[in-house]
Symmetry: C2
Subunit: 154 residues, 2 copies
DNA sequence: GCTCCTTAGTTGCATATGCAACTATTTAAT
DNA sequence: ATTAAATAGTTGCATATGCAACTAAGGAGC
């Protein structure tokens, strides 16, 4: 007897849920920035955030911390430098390295994102209990571990 | 007394976990396709999947189902049409509408992705119990609801 | 039947991204 | 010291994406 399940059950796995939810977060993020006239993308915000916590990181470190290809980071920084959010400075010890710093303006911009981010968190985590939050983060950690251990040995 | 917490607690919210995990999934996905020489992106695969379940969808419907801007879908389809995975056909009832169909080759390609997707699910959901899976999906649903209701009334 | 509004799809412009090839610089090896 | 290998960053080429302006076609109102 032939079953009607002619396809694998991808739709009920975690993947699509993750993808769709992520898209909605991204969309809401950009929407919020645009709404208050912030000339900023989520990706640029993440760079500003990392630099706020540790100014002067080099591009390699920034790329690693933001899970980004170094070429992608190069271009991201070029745009941010043009907008005067950050500036690059060649290291004196090792001329290959460029350290990246926030400008005063970049700091201002980052401060302006704070209420937006706060609002995003509030909106997103509405009706979600502390336990659920812990649960989901625990599961995220597991998934990341699963992929890390799987990708390493390739 | 001044607290040391000078920044909002974005890092411990769900957002970054979601973003990073999503990136890893995407990376693993692409890696897997490339590994077996499949000339396909995750996005193209999703289109193939939707068409597998319902051949002949029009572009508007496809864009909606895949959470994509219609212009983005246009270009995605153009590339897929060039690779002969799908073809467009103008509707006779309404000449504005283009229905999209899988080619024989497109079906073959989609079938080849199945083991890859199966492997992705297996890898990703390793050590994750049925209960956890239900939990995480339930929370994803909540987040999506939160954003939907929030975006609507803008 | 003509005008206006709406809808489906396309295109220009801007962003982000990965891979691979390239340059410049540093370090290791002989 | 000179050569070879490794490292940091950039660039070409390809993909995907959203917004806004556009074209073509359908539908409503008169």
């Amino acid at each position: 007897m032939k079953t009607k399940k002619i396809d694998i059950d991808f739709e009920n796995s975690i993947g699509p849920w993750l993808g769709r939810t992520g898209k909605m977060v991204d969309y809401f993020f950009q929407e919020s920035f645009n709404a208050i006239g912030l000339d900023l993308t989520k990706e640029q915000m993440i760079v500003l955030k990392k630099l706020t916590f540790q100014d002067g990181l080099n591009q390699n470190e920034l790329a690693f911390l933001t899970l980004r290809n170094k070429s992608s980071l190069t271009r991201l920084l070029t745009k941010m430098e043009k907008k005067n959010y950050i500036f690059r400075k060649q290291s004196k010890e090792d001329k290959r390295i460029k350290n990246v710093y926030l400008t005063k303006y970049g700091k201002d911009i980052y401060n302006k994102t704070k209420p937006v981010i706060q609002n995003l968190i509030t909106t997103m985590e509405q009706n979600i209990s502390k336990e659920e939050k812990q649960q989901i983060i625990k599961i995220f950690k597991k998934i990341q571990t699963n992929f890390s251990s799987s990708i390493e040995h390739i």
